[in-house]
């Protein structure tokens, strides 16, 4: 299997009053189609690691490769392009744009990418919303939906550009068990059926256990790669 993401010797220091090293020489590799959970206590650096892997945080030492291409040291514009094309995000909070309809929210990353016509994007966005059972909410404003529905729309949005990697920061942290199950099943379907890679940070042990692999972190280091 191909490597979707590879980090080598990643170090990160917070320069806040005292220098605090939050990531200590972290190396990890995630294969295409894997469903990986990163777990650990609060403050162990797992979220920090996720944001480094996401290319949003560029203040680190070490090497990062996404789809076998090094992204370390690239310009912010290039990184934005890479995120747009190859990475989807799901956060604990949905972060939908409340002034837009759900459909538009899902369409925006694809419109940004600009590879398809807006007609095609719209059709695709509908398809994604249908996949998550929220197509009937498509034309409502995002802030009119329930929490579970909003999170599903947010996941649909993360998938619109068919990214190779989907990153989740506590994607189910704000959901009840019913919605958590829906989201988990969908994630599994994405890896098994569509070969997409999922990396999530989670506190939810059940959720983590059911994923393909668990990476355990403590004090800024990886304790177990879960192989």
């Amino acid at each position: 299997m191909e490597t979707a993401l590879k980090g080598t010797g990643i170090n990160k220091v917070f320069h806040d009053a005292v220098n605090l090293q939050v990531l200590k020489n972290v190396s990890l590799e995630v294969k295409t189609g894997e469903f990986v959970s990163i777990v650990g206590k609060s403050g162990c650096g797992k979220s920090t690691l996720l944001y480094v892997l996401s290319t949003m945080d560029t203040d680190y030492e070490g090497q990062l490769e996404i789809n076998q291409t090094s992204v370390t040291g690239k310009s912010l514009n290039d990184l934005a392009r890479i995120r747009n094309e190859s990475i989807g995000f799901v956060f604990q909070f949905h972060y939908l744009l409340p002034d837009f309809t759900c459909l538009k929210n899902v369409m925006i990353p694809a419109l940004r990418l600009g590879k398809l016509s807006s007609k095609e994007i719209e059709a695709k966005a509908y398809e994604k919303l249908k996949m998550f059972g929220v197509e009937d909410q498509a034309l409502k404003k995002a802030n009119k939906l329930s929490g579970g529905q909003q999170q599903r729309v947010a996941i649909a949005r993360a998938l619109i550009n068919e990214p190779t990697i989907i990153m989740g920061d506590e994607p189910t942290g704000n959901l009840d068990s019913k919605n958590t199950n829906i989201v988990f099943d969908l994630f599994q379907k994405l890896t098994k059926e569509f070969g997409q890679t999922i990396i999530t940070v989670t506190h939810d042990e059940d959720f983590a256990k059911r994923s393909d692999r668990i990476i355990e972190m403590a004090d800024g280091e990886i304790k177990s790669h879960g192989h």
Partner: protein, 414 residues
């Protein structure tokens, strides 16, 4: 037409907060409409005063200036190269007027910039009617040319100016002269100059300009009559009045004429320095008022965009997470500023035009000025739009840059 996603987001943000957008646009609108109104008023007023001054002043007046005696003159008179020192030199009287004036006129007419050239004989005179005497001056002119250059016809109260050509010893007198001497068209008046003999002339017309001093002293006669009044021959001309295609070139052409003819050429700018000063002062007042209005409008936009950015900081972070670059975010917020500017600008132009139109109908009725002079000058409207956009872009730039620098990690992680 393909609308970019940045534009779509910018427009959605604007339409989601219609009231604030309207308030910001209103600020720009006031700025723009005031800009247009004040520019129109200023240009209208300036044009009016310029036109007024050209009703009495030619673009260039060529005349022979009294000179102060100097040693050169003595040298050439005595034909003797020794060094001479003059103590207490005096003014020399130029009694001869311009030398070979008609030759000069033919010469001057060759200049392609010049549209009208007309000779004039100016005579200081005493008007006498019955036992009343008042001082004044007679301008001996070719009345047809004079009318072409200064639109004398528009100042006529009574009589016909063309009678100057038809009636022997005809005279057009100012309203003040007519009132003081109680004269009407067809009456006789005795005119005496310093050098000629008293002449009885016939009032063929009465005119009134906006300048009281002119109306109280001036009269027009045929140039030949004026020469007779002074007891001079037909080649005696005191002034040559010249109009140009573009009066802004007057100073340059005047200098040229001075070197060619050797006489003094006074351009209208010099003759109306106070007018120019007034133009400048008005321009300063106007520009500072407009500047303040646009500044306030700019702050309005700055404020509203800043507030939007604080409110939407999470959305900006998420857009960046999804792959919107800093430039894209800048574009989203700058576009909002530009649309506010455009809306305000367009409405402002319409309002500005409306205000200008309304004010131009206000009756003033002072002298020959019936209505407020307003100009409808297209470049003002273009300038206004440009200024409006410039202000909004400047005001929107800083908030937009701030938005583009939002660090998604800090915002999303909280």
């Amino acid at each position: 037409m393909k609308i970019s996603v940045n534009t779509e987001i910018a427009v959605t943000y604007l339409s989601a907060r219609k009231k604030q957008t309207a308030v910001a646009a209103l600020g720009v609108m006031f700025g723009i409409s005031m800009f247009i109104f004040m520019q129109s008023l200023m240009k209208g007023t300036n044009d009016y005063f310029e036109k007024m001054s050209f009703n009495s002043t030619p673009h260039i007046r060529l005349y022979s200036e009294n000179k102060v005696a100097d040693a050169h003159m003595l040298t050439s008179y005595l034909q003797d190269p020794s060094v001479k020192i003059l103590t207490n030199p005096k003014q020399l009287i130029q009694t001869q007027g311009l030398n070979n004036p008609y030759g000069l006129i033919r010469e001057i007419e060759r200049n392609p910039q010049i549209t009208n050239v007309t000779p004039q004989v100016t005579a200081d005179v005493i008007y006498t009617s019955g036992s009343v005497q008042i001082n004044g001056n007679v301008a001996g002119v070719n009345i047809d040319q004079e009318d072409k250059m200064f639109d004398v016809q528009s100042n006529m109260l009574a009589g016909d100016l063309h009678d100057l050509n038809r009636v022997n010893n005809g005279l057009l007198i100012g309203k003040g002269v007519a009132d003081k001497l109680s004269l009407h068209v067809g009456d006789n008046i005795t005119v005496t100059s310093g050098t000629g003999s008293p002449t009885i002339m016939k009032v063929v017309g009465i005119f009134a300009t906006t300048v009281k001093q002119v109306d109280d002293t001036k009269s027009y006669a045929n140039i030949v009559q004026a020469q007779n009044l002074l007891g001079k021959d037909r080649s005696y001309v005191t002034d040559i009045k010249i109009n140009l295609k573009d009066y802004n070139n007057a100073p340059a052409v005047a200098r040229e004429l001075e070197t060619i003819t050797g006489y003094k050429a006074e351009d209208w700018v010099k003759a109306n320095e106070q007018l120019k000063a007034a133009f400048k002062i008005r321009a300063v007042i106007l520009n500072s008022v407009i500047g303040v209005i646009l500044l306030v409008a700019g702050f309005g936009i700055y404020n509203i965009l800043n507030m939007t950015i604080y409110e939407k900081i999470k959305e900006i972070a998420i857009l960046k997470a999804q792959g919107f670059s800093g430039q894209a975010v800048t574009s989203i917020f700058l576009q909002q500023a530009i649309y506010i500017g455009l809306i305000g600008g367009i409405v402002g132009i319409i309002c500005g035009f409306g205000i200008t139109l309304m004010v131009s109908r206000i009756y003033i009725g002072a002298g020959t000025l019936k209505y407020l002079p307003m100009s409808f000058y297209i470049p003002h409207y273009i300038e206004a739009i440009c200024f409006g956009i410039l202000t909004t872009v400047a005001a929107g730039y800083f908030p937009a840059r701030k938005a583009s620098r939002v660090d998604p990690v800090t915002i999303i992680r909280g």
